[in-house]
C-alpha cells in the first residue's frame, strides 16, 4: 500500500514535471580549466613507524603536472577522511570540489605494503573507482603513478601516462671531457637510471614496443652504429654498423623489426632490419637524403624526412615498398616525423621564421598545427596516451624537457630538471 502510494506520488511528480513549461538553455561555451580534485593524505595505519613515502605527494604532483588537474592544497581540505562513510559531502560541495581521493596505507606482516584507495564523486556521492593492492616497498612509487593514471583516466577519459618512462640523452661537460649519457626515468623525473655513458655522442634513442629495450645510435667506435640495450639487464647488442651512416632506429609495432637510415649503398636511404634473421631491406631509392623513419602504429607504413623536393619534407612509404608520397606541404622545413598512437597525426619539427617548433600534421586534412613558440625545439614524441608530446627545448641551461598537449593547449612541466637534455622519447605503457 505504501509502495503503491509512493508510485502514485512519483508518477504525479513526473507528470507535473512534464506538464510544466521547461526553459531551454543552450550551453555552447565552456572553460578549459584544470579539474579540481582533492587528494586526501593516505591514512598511515602503523603508529610509531614512518610511512615509506608520501603517496599523496606523488599523485598530486602527477596530476598537477599534467595540466589537467588543479589539486587542492592540503591545508585547504575541509576534512581528511580515509573511509567513504566519513566523507562529509556537503563540506566538499561547498568548496566546489568535484572529486576526492581517499586511501589507506598498511604495512603487512610480510613487510609488503597494502594500498587501498577510493576515488569519490562528490556531487553524486558515489565511488568512481577503488582498488586494494599489496606491493613490494620498491613498487610503492609506481603504485602511486598507477593511481594517478586511474584518476586521470576516470576524470578525463584519456588513459594516464604517469606510469611510463622517458628515455633521453644528456650531454655534460666535465672539465675538458664531454660525457654523453643515455638515461631512463619515470615520467615524473624520478627513478633516473643511467643506461650508458660515453665520451662519444649517443643519439636517437627508441623504445621497443614492450618498453624493455632501447635502440640508439652510438659513436663509441668513432663511427655510428646502432645498438639495442635491455633497460633491465643492461645487456646491449650492436645490430647495425655499416660503413657510413647508421642512424635513426625505429621499432616496428610488433617489435620484430627496426627501420633505420643507412648510407652503406652510397646514398642516405631507409632500410628495414629484421631482428630475427638480421636481413636488411632497402625501402627508399632516391638521390636525395631520406632519413628519420618512423613506423606507423598499424605497422604498414613508414614516415620519413626527405629533401628530394629541395627542402626537408615528410613522406610516407609503404613498408612493402612502392613510391613514397609526400604528406607535408606547409612551410619549407618539416622534419623528424613521429606518428601519434592512433596513427591520425604526425608530430614533427616545423621551421617557422627561423625558429624550429613542435607541430602536428593532421593526416586527414594535411594541416599543420604549430604547438610551441620557442626558438629551438627538437625531438618530439607522443606520450603513449596520445595526449601529450614530449620534446626538448633549448633553454638557459641548454636543452630541457618539455611537453605540450597534442592540441597545444596545455604546456606541461616535466619532473626531469636536468640540464643538457636532448632527444627525449616517451616510452610505451608498461605492461
Amino acid at each position: 500500500m505504501k509502495v503503491l502510494f509512493k508510485i502514485i506520488i512519483c508518477s504525479l511528480l513526473l507528470v507535473s514535471l512534464q506538464a510544466q513549461a521547461v526553459l531551454d538553455i543552450k550551453i555552447t561555451q565552456g572553460i578549459e580549466q584544470a579539474l579540481p580534485v582533492a587528494i586526501v593524505p593516505f591514512a598511515w595505519m602503523q603508529a610509531g613507524k614512518v610511512a615509506p613515502l608520501d603517496l599523496t605527494e606523488i599523485i598530486s604532483n602527477d596530476l598537477e603536472r599534467s595540466g589537467h588537474f588543479d589539486v587542492m592544497d592540503q591545508q585547504d581540505l575541509p576534512q581528511q577522511p580515509s573511509e567513504f562513510d566519513n566523507i562529509n559531502f556537503g563540506d566538499w560541495r561547498k568548496l566546489g570540489m568535484e572529486n576526492i581521493l581517499i586511501g589507506k596505507l598498511n604495512l603487512t606482516d610480510s613487510g609488503d605494503y597494502k594500498v587501498t584507495f577510493k576515488l569519490v564523486d562528490v556531487y553524486r556521492g558515489i565511488e568512481i573507482a577503488s582498488l586494494g593492492k599489496i606491493v613490494k616497498p620498491n613498487h610503492l612509487r609506481r603504485v602511486a603513478h598507477q593511481i594517478s593514471d586511474l584518476i586521470f583516466n576516470k576524470l578525463t577519459g584519456i588513459p594516464g601516462a604517469f606510469d611510463t618512462r622517458v628515455a633521453y640523452i644528456t650531454v655534460k661537460k666535465n672539465k675538458n671531457k664531454t660525457i654523453h649519457t643515455l638515461n631512463i626515468a619515470d615520467a615524473d623525473g624520478h627513478n633516473i637510471k643511467r643506461l650508458l655513458e660515453s665520451p662519444e655522442p649517443l643519439l636517437s634513442p627508441s623504445w621497443s614496443p614492450d618498453g624493455r629495450k632501447i635502440a640508439y645510435v652510438s659513436f663509441e667506435n668513432k663511427n655510428s652504429a646502432i645498438y639495442i640495450q635491455n633497460v633491465i639487464t643492461g645487456h646491449r647488442k650492436r645490430v647495425s654498423a655499416f660503413e657510413g651512416i647508421n642512424s635513426s632506429p625505429s621499432w616496428s609495432p610488433d617489435g620484430t623489426k627496426l627501420a633505420m637510415t643507412l648510407s652503406k649503398d652510397g646514398n642516405t636511404e631507409i632500410y628495414i632490419l629484421d631482428l630475427n634473421n638480421n636481413s636488411l631491406k632497402r625501402i627508399t631509392r632516391h638521390g636525395g637524403i631520406d632519413t628519420e623513419p618512423n613506423w606507423s602504429p598499424d605497422g604498414s607504413k613508414l614516415a620519413f624526412t626527405s629533401d628530394r623536393s629541395g627542402g626537408p619534407q615528410i613522406y610516407e612509404i609503404n613498408v612493402a615498398g612502392g613510391k613514397p608520397k609526400r604528406i607535408s606541404f606547409e612551410g619549407k622545413y618539416n622534419a623528424r616525423p613521429v606518428y601519434s598512437p592512433d596513427g591520425k597525426v604526425i608530430t614533427l619539427i616545423h621551421a617557422q621564421s627561423g625558429s624550429y617548433r613542435i607541430a602536428t600534421l593532421d593526416l586527414g586534412n594535411g594541416y599543420i598545427n604549430v604547438l610551441t613558440d620557442s626558438r629551438l625545439d627538437e625531438s618530439p614524441s607522443f606520450a603513449p596516451n596520445g595526449g601529450m608530446i614530449i620534446y626538448a627545448t633549448t633553454g638557459v641551461r641548454g636543452g630541457q624537457l618539455a611537453a605540450v598537449s597534442a592540441d597545444g593547449r596545455i604546456h606541461q612541466r616535466l619532473g626531469i630538471q636536468e640540464g643538457g637534455v636532448r632527444e627525449p622519447v616517451w616510452g610505451p605503457f608498461l605492461k
Binding site: 514535471l17 510544466q20 521547461v22 538553455i25 550551453i27 561555451q29 572553460i31 580549466q33 568535484e98 577519459g157
Partner: protein, 287 residues
C-alpha cells in the same frame, strides 16, 4: 234707347250704387276687418221702387226680371265667384296673414327663442364664465397643486432619476471600471508577462554564463552534445537532474552534469511567480 239707357242707366246706376256700397263695405270690411264677413244681403226694396208698363212692364219686368235675375245670378255668380275669389283671396290673405302672423309669431317665437337663447346663452356664458372662472380658479389651484405635485413629483422623479442615474452611472462606472480594471489587468498581465519574459531572459543569460563558466570541457572530444533536465527549488538550488539525452560519452555527460552542480544555486529571480516559470530547465550542452 234712352230708356234703355235710362233703364240701363237706372239699373246701371243702381248697380253702381250698389257696387259702391258693396265696395265700400267690402273695402271697409276688407280694410278693417280681417274677420270673415258673411255675404251682403241683396237690397230688394230699392228695385221695387221703379215700375213701368205692366205687361210690357211685366214683360219687360219679366225680362228685366229675368235679366235682372240673370244679372243677379250672374252677379251672384260673379259675386259668388268674386266671393269665391275674394274668399280665396281672403283665404289667401288670411292664409298670408296667418302665414305672416305665423311668421311674426314664428319670428316672435324665434326672437323670443333667440332672446331666450341669448338669455340662456348669456346665462350659460355667465355660468360658463363663472364655471370657467371657478374652473380656472380650480384649475389654477389644481394647476398650482399639480405644479406643486409636479414639482414634488419632479423632485421625486428627479430624485429617483438621480438615484437611478446614480445607480446607472454607478453600474456604468462599475462596468467601465471593471472594463478598465480588466484592461489594466490585461495590460498589467501583458506587461507582467513581458516583464517576466525579460526577467526570465535575463536570468536565462545569467544561468547560461554561470554554467558556461563551470562547464569544464578540458580533454573532452569535440562534437559531442547532451541534454540535461533540471529542477530547482526556490533560491535556485538544483534538486533534481537527469540526463535526457546522453552524448554517448559518459565523461561528457558527467562534466555537463557537474557544471550544473557547480553552478547551483543558479541565479533565479526572487519573485516566486517568475521563478515558477523557470523552475525546470532543459540544458543542451553542445560546445
Amino acid at each position: 234707347m234712352r230708356n234703355n239707357w235710362l233703364l240701363s242707366s237706372g239699373s246701371f246706376l243702381l248697380s253702381i250704387i250698389l257696387h259702391v256700397i258693396l265696395g265700400i263695405v267690402l273695402a271697409f270690411s276688407f280694410k278693417f276687418t280681417s274677420e270673415p264677413t258673411p255675404p251682403p244681403i241683396p237690397d230688394i226694396p230699392i228695385i221695387q221702387a221703379t215700375v213701368i208698363d205692366k205687361k210690357e212692364v211685366d214683360k219687360e219686368l219679366k225680362r228685366i226680371k229675368e235679366k235682372k235675375q240673370k244679372k243677379i245670378d250672374d252677379e251672384l255668380k260673379r259675386k259668388k265667384d268674386l266671393e269665391k275669389k275674394k274668399q280665396k283671396k281672403r283665404d289667401d290673405i288670411k292664409k298670408k296673414k296667418a302665414a305672416a302672423k305665423k311668421k311674426i309669431e314664428d319670428e316672435k317665437i324665434r326672437l323670443k327663442k333667440l332672446e331666450q337663447e341669448k338669455k340662456e346663452k348669456k346665462e350659460l356664458e355667465k355660468k360658463k364664465k363663472l364655471e370657467e372662472e371657478e374652473k380656472k380658479k380650480r384649475d389654477a389651484e389644481n394647476k398650482k397643486k399639480d405644479e406643486q405635485q409636479k414639482i414634488l413629483d419632479e423632485e421625486k422623479r428627479k430624485a429617483k432619476e438621480e438615484a437611478d442615474r446614480l445607480v446607472r452611472e454607478k453600474a456604468i462606472n462599475d462596468a467601465i471600471q471593471q472594463e478598465i480594471d480588466d484592461e489594466i489587468e490585461a495590460v498589467k498581465k501583458a506587461e507582467q508577462l513581458k516583464r517576466d519574459f525579460s526577467i526570465i531572459a535575463r536570468f536565462q543569460q545569467r544561468i547560461r554564463r554561470q554554467l558556461e563558466s563551470k562547464f569544464n570541457k578540458i580533454g573532452l572530444d569535440p562534437g559531442l552534445s547532451c541534454v540535461i533536465l533540471i529542477r530547482m527549488i526556490e533560491g535556485g538550488k538544483v534538486v533534481e537532474t537527469s540526463i535526457a539525452k546522453s552524448s554517448g560519452n559518459a565523461l561528457f555527460d558527467q562534466r555537463a552534469e557537474n557544471a550544473v552542480y557547480l553552478a547551483s544555486p543558479l541565479p533565479v529571480p526572487e519573485e516566486i511567480r517568475v521563478f515558477e516559470k523557470m523552475r525546470s530547465i532543459r540544458f543542451t550542452f553542445e560546445p
